[in-house]
């Protein structure tokens, strides 16, 4: 605002407000100051600073640790050589120059708890790339007793640029504002500076040992009292108890900046970041249904633009991207912590039919318990999860907006998300209530209300209290892979593994179990191909394709499996089609069809079944006439395709499942990070059309709508108590009906 436009009366009001602010306490001075006349930086005297002028700064309480590419510690002369004396440098009398063999510097901030405990801070530093750059991160780590448990990263995020740079290459980076302590007790254990060269994003990048980066002017500013109260909370009262910036984690309020990373701090960079997010989804997204829903993402981006709290900023992006129904899309990830490490304590629950409860219906039910710990010990097969933090499960999922992380066909959510409910409740420190109906013997009858035993599992008490007290239980790491199966036809220790394929016979019925469609190259891919081939050689009379865990994979293996099960006359091709930003009319189709080969067509690609895998012609359709039951569970991408292609078989086919598949019909690609995110997210650049016969119209794009089952089947609670896999029994009955 132009000061000349301030009227006199308003000026006095401002002055009065100013005086009131002054009376409330000294103005908080933040950030190093840059002197335009000298071109030098001065660190703020009231901040905690690290000018990198001497090795002595890093000894003692900071416990500086220097590491090489193998994370081996460096010391002595190697470290001393990192200091560069330069009185005309950015700040002070010198700076740190790392890179080459010195990949990592870690500083222990524990000694700063007396100064910054209960406060909100911002960490800034400057770097000057000389070929490479530093990725700085803050990490809040709950330390465990060695030998008892594993330490847990409560939260971690990378620094971001402020937009301030000098004409000789210095750049300012900031952590953003964040409460110093997580839950009032866990300080940021580490401030890590790492050469970005050995980063997983650059898997095909050649590391160069001659690149360096200079680091200078690190300071931690006290920007006021902690924003999030040190308080007990639950998932349902956290907005009220923890405030707009807080999240309930293991029963205590934690600053959402610690868990998700701060928002972009600079207004211009924030706008540009969000503009790029919008642009890349609008321009690159290949799904036609996602494109039709793009206004939802655009609105979510505007919410993020006005959001101050990290949970709202990153949450809005996540929700907007998920709303596109691109099962391959994910929003950028800026922070990493508790939710990524959450476990199910060795208990698998899946969406089921709770037919023994007084009010039967679909609900998550315990399929298996494979651990001994205070959570698992309370539960047994057949227990039904009915409430979390006092809310019915479905209401709790809505209240916590858990669907926001599910980018696929919404109808797939309840089934695919069910096994994640325990981990989700664990992150919040929720109180789960299970209902048990004890029955033995055949033909069990439903329980009356008085017969139902309610079992409370209070994760805030069992996990949260010891965790925040510094006594992390070892069983916190107990976890079981959940594969949506109540029973497995094949007895093999690797039966839940992604690359597994195996089969077993029961009378005339053969059951082939797969969990995905692994890349055919390499030993595991070869073993998968061998197992699938053996399962069809000779073709069985009846076949169950049990792909209840279908994690997708390679086009080649998808083509191979379905090439065995479909005759050449059954199906012609799927067309993998990108967006053209112009009508997909006859002119464009003519250009696509006129490509001189299948490899230079704008990334458009006709996937002709039986040809892509290069399968032996004698194997094409070898099991096309087998009576086939396809059993789905959580099926995505390549396993969307197997489910969809099964519908084109001329041989008798029926799909059994609790819900629809994801509807992710196309390849996935990663999105580049633009703002020092851990991941830039992902999306599908293509959509798919299924063409049954040559010459059929090419009209319907499939992304966003999963393959529904011909028969909806949920595992019944009554069967679970008898040790019976409901879905498989229903499938068998249909197969033998012939």
């Amino acid at each position: 605002m132009n000061p000349r436009l301030i009227p006199r009366a308003r000026c006095w009001v401002l002055a009065a407000v100013t005086l009131a602010l002054v009376a409330a306490g000294p103005p908080v001075v933040r950030a190093a100051t840059f002197d335009d006349q000298t071109g030098r930086l001065t660190l703020d005297a009231s901040s905690w600073s690290l000018p990198f002028d001497s090795l002595l700064e890093l000894t003692g309480d900071l416990g500086a640790w220097f590491g090489n590419a193998d994370d081996d510690e460096l010391s002595g002369p190697e470290v001393a050589a990192l200091y560069v004396e330069d009185a005309s440098g950015l700040e002070g009398t010198g700076y740190l120059r790392m890179g080459g063999d010195v990949r990592t510097v870690r500083l222990d901030l524990d000694s700063l708890v007396p100064r910054f405990g209960g406060r909100r801070v911002e960490v800034r530093f400057w770097q000057r790339p000389e070929g490479t750059r530093i990725s700085a991160s803050l990490q809040w780590i709950a330390l465990a007793d060695p030998g008892v448990a594993e330490s847990v990263v409560v939260g971690s995020f990378r620094f971001q640029p402020t937009g301030r740079v000098t004409d000789d290459g210095w750049e300012e980076w900031t952590s953003g504002e964040v409460d110093f302590l997580a839950a009032g007790v866990v300080p940021p254990a580490l401030l890590e500076l790492r050469d970005i060269q050995p980063n997983s994003h650059y898997s095909y990048v050649t590391h160069r040992n001659d690149l360096r980066v200079c680091v200078d002017g690190l300071e931690i500013s006290d920007v006021g009292p902690a924003l999030v109260p040190d308080a007990l909370c639950t998932s349902v009262d956290m907005a009220e108890v923890c405030g707009a910036h807080g999240v309930c984690a293991l029963g205590r309020c934690v600053d959402s900046a610690i868990l998700f990373g701060p928002t972009p701090q600079d207004a211009l960079l924030k706008d540009q970041y969000l503009d790029r997010q919008r642009f890349q989804f609008q321009t690159f997204e290949g799904g036609r249904m996602p494109q039709s829903l793009m206004n939802i993402l655009a609105a979510a981006i505007e919410v993020a633009r006005n959001a101050a709290a990290p949970i709202l900023f990153w949450g809005s992006l996540r929700k907007g991207v998920s709303a596109l129904r691109d099962g391959h899309a994910s929003s950028p990830m800026f922070g990493w912590g508790l939710s990524a490490q959450a476990t199910n304590f060795g208990v698998c629950i899946h969406q089921s039919e709770a037919d023994l409860l007084p009010t039967p219906g679909a609900a998550p039910m315990v399929f298996s318990v494979e651990a001994t710990n205070p959570v698992a010990d309370k539960l047994q097969v057949g227990d039904v999860l009915v409430e979390v933090d006092g809310l019915p499960v479905d209401e709790w999922k809505v209240a916590l907006d858990l669907r926001a992380g599910h980018g696929a066909d919404p109808d797939a959510f309840d089934v695919t998300y069910a096994p994640s409910l325990i981990a989700a409740a664990g992150v919040f420190g929720g109180r789960m209530t299970f209902a048990r109906c004890e029955r033995t013997g055949p033909n069990p009858t439903p329980c009356t209300p008085g017969e139902v035993e309610l079992i409370d599992v209070d994760l805030a008490t069992l996990v949260g209290e010891p965790f925040w007290a510094g006594d992390i239980p070892g069983w916190l790491a107990d976890n079981q892979s959940c594969d949506y199966r109540f029973l497995r036809a094949v007895d093999n220790p690797d039966v839940k593994g992604y690359s597994f394929a195996g089969f077993a016979d029961e009378g005339p019925i053969r059951t082939l179990i797969i969990n995905g469609l692994p890349n055919p190259y390499g030993s595991s891919g070869n073993a998968w191909l061998d197992a699938v081939t053996d399962a069809m050689d000779p073709p069985p009379q009846y076949l169950i394709l049990d792909q209840r865990l279908g994690s997708g994979g390679s086009v080649t293996t998808t083509d191979y499996l379905m090439g065995l099960l479909l005759a050449e006359a059954d199906f012609d091709r799927a067309e993998i089609v990108p967006m053209f930003e112009r009508p997909l009319d006859d002119t464009v189709w003519a250009a696509l069809d006129g490509c001189s080969s299948q490899t230079d067509c704008a990334s458009y690609w006709p996937w002709i079944l039986h040809e892509t895998s290069g399968m032996d012609p004698s194997l094409r359709g070898v099991s096309a006439n087998v009576r086939l039951a396809v059993v789905n569970g959580r099926d995505v991408s390549g396993n969307d395709f197997t489910a969809k292609l099964a519908q084109y078989r001329s041989g008798a086919t029926r799909i059994f499942a609790a819900g629809v598949t994801h509807g992710a019909f196309g390849p996935i690609v990663s999105l580049p990070p633009h703002f020092s995110e851990i991941s830039g997210g992902s999306m599908q650049l293509w959509d798919s059309i299924f063409v049954e016969h040559p010459g059929d119209p090419r009209q319907v794009f499939e992304t966003g709508s999963g393959v529904p089952p011909d028969e909806v089947v949920l595992q019944r609670q009554s069967d679970a108590l008898l040790g019976v896999d409901t879905t498989i029994e229903v499938a068998k009955a249909w197969l033998l009906q012939e």
């Binding site: 000061p3 006349q37 790029r276 997708g552």
Partner: protein, 262 residues
């Protein structure tokens, strides 16, 4: 010494100064001078040139946010966004992402040829669109090794078939020396953009490294067309190596029916 306060808090001492020292009788315009006076140190060192000056840089520096390259900053050398493979041998071409001064402030890529091969190449994907488009990229050699043994082209499928547009050195912009590299901007103006995904194909035909920065593909608007009146590039047939690299890229794509994102 002058002190630059954080914007949010600099108003506090400034307004205090107005209220307590100047009151509100002074013209408000004095605020600027007052702030300078409050911040001014005893020694302004007016006669000595500053060692450096402070400026600002946006997220994509001096390149547009609406750049149609999938990855304009070389953050994903993953075989799809940028693919550094020799199309015939499948050898990995040595590439390194560099953070150093460049003409438009963007990271650079250093490209070498693999041992035993006569060329090294990298291919990056960009999204075409209907209507006129302009593609540009800066290529550089280390000062003193300024050999022009390289090719750069955008290839794709156009309404009348597949083809490539060669990027040519900008006839107006002089080369720029930054970070020990002599940079030359290359451009091509395309009358009607490629259908969907197109590929920038850069091949280094010399033993010395080739430096690459700031790839940009944008639609040409009526306004920018006036600024850059150009003759559209003639599309030529694909070279065998270009066709092979396209086939290699597609081969990689077909392995990517990944699962649900985490």
């Amino acid at each position: 010494m002058q002190r630059t306060w954080n914007r949010r808090f600099c108003a506090v001492p400034a307004l205090v100064w107005i209220a307590l020292v100047g009151g509100c009788d002074h013209p408000p315009g004095v605020l600027v001078d007052a702030a300078a006076e409050v911040d001014a140190g005893p020694d302004a060192a007016a006669d000595v040139a500053p060692l450096r000056s402070l400026t600002r840089r946006g997220l994509f520096a001096q390149t547009p946010v609406e750049n149609r390259f999938f990855d304009p900053t070389f953050a994903l050398i993953d075989g799809v966004a940028w693919s550094p493979f020799h199309p015939l041998s499948y050898d990995l071409c040595p590439v390194t992402r560099l953070h150093q001064p460049t003409p438009l402030g963007q990271p650079a890529l250093r490209l070498e040829r693999p041992a035993g091969q006569s060329t090294g190449q990298v291919v990056g994907m960009a999204k075409g669109a209907p209507g006129p488009m302009e593609v540009s990229v800066w290529l550089g050699r280390l000062v003193g090794t300024n050999v022009a043994a390289y090719r750069v082209a955008l290839y794709g499928l156009f309404l009348d078939g597949s083809g490539a547009a060669d990027l040519e050195p900008d006839p107006i912009l002089a080369p720029v020396v930054m970070g020990g590299v002599t940079w030359v901007q290359h451009r091509a103006y395309i009358a009607d953009g490629p259908l969907s995904w197109a590929y920038l194909w850069i091949t280094n035909q010399d033993i010395v490294p080739l430096f690459i920065t700031a790839p940009v593909l944008v639609r040409v608007t009526a306004q920018t067309r006036r600024l850059w009146p150009r003759i559209p590039a003639a599309l030529r047939p694909l070279l065998p190596l270009e066709r092979a690299s396209w086939a290699d890229w597609q081969r990689r794509l077909r392995g990517r029916f990944g699962g649900a994102p985490r």
